[in-house]
């Protein structure tokens, strides 16, 4: 059996076949490229500046809009849910705005950014955990 990543035909012929209508859409490409580039940037900003959309208090199952401090007798707070939802929402909005870009501009965005930025995001994220590494 031959893997689909192997070159089986000419590049032009290969480029002509997307396996779903969504995957063939130029606007969808713009959305996923902008979303993919935005998510690591937004997530790092949310984590670095502590910008959760909401705060969850697991001991009391209480959800508080935006950032909330831990309260005496109510246990710890959780911000990761708020960072994640904020990241996905803002990334979706930016992705939708990206669909308004002309195709020629989307084609100029280096695709390497979609994997390079998440890799680079680990540097500030790991650094922010310094108290755990140095205790």
């Amino acid at each position: 059996m031959i893997t689909t990543t192997a070159t089986q035909s000419t590049p032009t012929a290969r480029a002509a076949r997307a396996t779903s209508s969504l995957a063939a859409s130029v606007k969808f490409k713009a959305f996923v490229v902008v979303f993919g580039i935005s998510v690591p940037i937004i997530y790092v900003l949310c984590e670095w500046f502590n910008l959760p959309l909401f705060t969850f208090h697991p001991a009391t199952n209480r959800v508080e809009f935006w950032w909330g401090p831990a309260r005496s007798g109510e246990g710890p707070t959780m911000y990761w849910y708020g960072w994640t939802v904020m990241t996905v929402l803002v990334g979706t909005v930016l992705g939708l705005l990206g669909t308004l870009l002309p195709e020629s501009m989307v084609r100029r965005i280096p695709l390497a950014l979609v994997w390079l930025l998440p890799v680079l995001a680990f540097i500030p994220l790991a650094y922010s955990l310094m108290p755990f590494w140095t205790k």
């Binding site: 192997a6 995957a23 697991p58």
Partner: protein, 161 residues
């Protein structure tokens, strides 16, 4: 109640783990297939492992990542109180640090899914070959990292503790 609260959360943890194993298998097959594509059929185990129809895994990987993510996010509510606090009291700070990194990695992986799916649905387009390979290998790396961290944490304070 038919089952105890502890049993309920243990079942969720096991489901989370099983979903992660399925995801790990699919992503590992796919990553090996893009790193070392097979040009012709052969009989060895390693070659057969590489020779999967990698594009067919894309949607399953996305669904499995989201399901594993949601199960993990659900369990995390209990982890924060019943696992993290004892881990900190025991002084396992680096272990907890790696868990924090795992949650970050899971979100970054979630953000990669749309472009990953797009690349694989356009697997015939050579323009995306390099980026598709990198995104797939990165997702596989994150999956392995998260799986191993989760496994170690389960050993520190998980099932039965």
């Amino acid at each position: 109640m038919l089952i105890s609260v502890n049993t309920f959360w243990t079942i969720l943890l096991i489901v989370h783990g099983l979903l992660a194993i399925a995801l790990l298998g699919a992503l590992t097959h796919q990553a090996v297939a893009v790193l070392m594509p097979v040009r012709q059929a052969a009989g060895g185990f390693v070659t057969r492992f590489r020779a999967v129809p990698a594009a067919g895994y894309a949607t399953a990987v996305c669904v499995l990542w989201i399901l594993t993510f949601l199960m993990g996010a659900w369990i995390y509510t209990k982890y924060r109180i019943y696992v993290r606090i004892p881990i900190e009291q025991a002084g396992y700070w680096k272990t907890q640090g790696f868990f924090e990194l795992k949650e970050h990695a899971a979100t970054l992986g979630l953000g990669l899914l749309p472009i990953y799916w797009y690349f694989w649905k356009n697997a015939q387009n050579p323009e995306y070959d390099g980026a598709r390979k990198s995104v797939t290998v990165l997702l596989a790396f994150i999956c392995w990292f998260n799986f191993l961290v989760g496994h170690v944490l389960n050993n520190v304070r998980g099932f039965g503790s």
